[in-house]
Symmetry: C2
Subunit: 228 residues, 2 copies
Amino acid sequence: MKIYDREGAPNPARIRIVLAEKGLEDQVEFVSVDLIAAGQKQDSFLAMNPIGKIPVLELDDGLLISESTAITEYLDNLDGHPTLTGRNPREKAVIHMMQRRAEMLLLEPVDDYFHYGTPGLGKALRPWRMPDWSGAKEWGTRRGAQAVRGMPYFNDLLAKQPFLAGEAFSMADITLFAALAFAEVSGLPIAKELTALAAWRSRVSDLPAVKNRSGQHLLPEDLARLSA
Amino acid sequence: MKIYDREGAPNPARIRIVLAEKGLEDQVEFVSVDLIAAGQKQDSFLAMNPIGKIPVLELDDGLLISESTAITEYLDNLDGHPTLTGRNPREKAVIHMMQRRAEMLLLEPVDDYFHYGTPGLGKALRPWRMPDWSGAKEWGTRRGAQAVRGMPYFNDLLAKQPFLAGEAFSMADITLFAALAFAEVSGLPIAKELTALAAWRSRVSDLPAVKNRSGQHLLPEDLARLSA
């Protein structure tokens, strides 16, 4: 298998945690996409994923799979023993629901804030960021405020249960973990009073599939290149 | 099971097609939420779904499931024979990928266009539509243009294969079908040159789980109430 991604980017971090959790890291060849050069918006990449986003999984027979949830479904079910996407209808439902909440309330608003409300990944990507509209930055700023307003929901839930979907670590936690790391690097850290959310993040950071791997600190090399 | 929804609304239409496809229609009691009175934004509803959107599935033991993909995962896997969400890792991956593309390229932009770029469902919902920002309408209009730009991708794909994920009708088709009906009622019909997309829509309209049911014509009663 090949994965087209960028080490330290938020959605790639989700899939790298899945690979580690499923013991599949040594079966994947990573192909790095230069986000600062807008590599994901070039025709050769769009032929693989018309959405223009990483990561993309390419199977040995050429099948291309994009979207983190779809890649996770594939990798988690490969051995017939899903641990991250649910083993029965109830688990699947709750995991998919909480995963989507983590995207809607946090990952997507943070992504919009980073790319529209801050300089993001720089000028090569600007043609894809509504450059003809003076309201784009205000919209991005509002999305950042939405992200901040979304965090207490997860804090309150994680004060009552160990993981987003209940007792077990799942795809939903991976999405929330990547979203919080992305929020932090974008300038939206966890507020001090959200102690349950911070404790959960610290606990997830120490899981074997997460510790010392991507996802802890996002985009450090690319952001350093931009500010150099 | 109970489903809190509104007949003729786009996401409820997705789940009603799933229920018909799985032969579960007679096992569900529907509870109607008044969208024009912003029923989905009131505290009693937010206690069921903090996102403030329909549909919500309530199981007999009280478990609440929101998000259309999560409800579909539950209903499709209930009998142990999934037909809409994939039977193996490859099918699951392709269906989830195409489903997400239908949301990102069409359903979500149409939803934003309807609620921000047009009068939408009227004044009771305005407090949740960035009323303090003069750029909100321009943003909604841009989302409508994005939706229109998203349609040719599906047209080109459906010129080459019968359904979004390949040979079989799936969750991805249901999302696209609801998105196109929502686009039409919002004033964004399929362009004349997208003949493969129109042919696919007509074919899906005639499927037993879709024919003479919700999803063909969205929101007629609520829109009539608003214009009365």
